[in-house]
Amino acid sequence: MTPFADDPDLARRCIAGDLSAFGELVRKYQDKIYNLCCYMLQDSDSARDAAQETFLKAYSNVKEFRAESALYSWLYRIAVNTCLDHKKKARPDQLEDESLLTDLASSEPTPERLYQAKELGRTLQAALQKLPEEMRASIILKEMEGLSYEEIAEVLHVSLGTVKSRISRAREELRRLLQGKV
């Protein structure tokens, strides 16, 4: 049974106003949505706020959810739009913010692994923030969340060709930005 097989039933219960069902939905998708927000926004406070806002918006608009689309792609759409709308506080030391890397520390006990993860995370984070937001969203959904081209097209409400083009250009740009660092 795939992890999303029980989503239609969960969606039905949420639409019916079952708050406990919505709690299940939050627990099921909190990591995915939070991870997406982290890579879209970089700092943990903004990511946490955006992730929380995503679920609150989902609750307010659950009656608009259509059973034909997947529950997770609907949530991703809300999360991406929330991140795109989010006004990040511009701080000169933003790129040096280690709050996200502290999250990594909680799951990576060995010092060497922590260092490598920190460096990779820092490098990738910095490069991603230099991409235009639409390209950033596309490549994150593809590489971090493992969505197919078709699923990304549904989340972002763009054509399949646009998705392929954005991902190709994102990879090309990251290749240029990370030359010699990877």
């Binding site: 708050l19 609150l56 990594l104 590489e143 190709s168």
Partner: protein, 157 residues
Amino acid sequence: MKCSQIKELISRYVDDDLGPDEQEAFTLHIRDCAGCTKELEEIQAIHTLFASADRFEAPHGFATRVVAHLEEREPSRFWGFLAFHRTLLRAAELVLALVVFMVGIISGNVLMADRTSEKQTILANVHSSFSLDLFQATPPGSVGGAYVSLVGAADER
């Protein structure tokens, strides 16, 4: 296939999205082109970087806080429902009060009209019971004269 065409296919090749014909042409070109091979390896390194980058987990207690926030909002939905119906209730009370007031005014007017005609009837009875038809004329200053002037004033009214 030219290098410019191959570069457009590299990303799709990494995602295993090429059709059979495209796959064959791509593979043949890559085998003999160092430049395109290098670009493919760099794109694949980006792909590997993403794969090895850790996934962030939601902070401890995140779901509990979101649900608690929603539970706080739920009473406001109930009170909003009730407040709306309270407004309707108040409006109904006002309308009812107005109706009762109007009924009271109308009833009062009817009662007043009845009492006036009743008063006139009583006076007429009094006049008739105290009628002094025997007297043809009354001397001024007499009781009969006073009575006659009283009856005359009532008649005029």
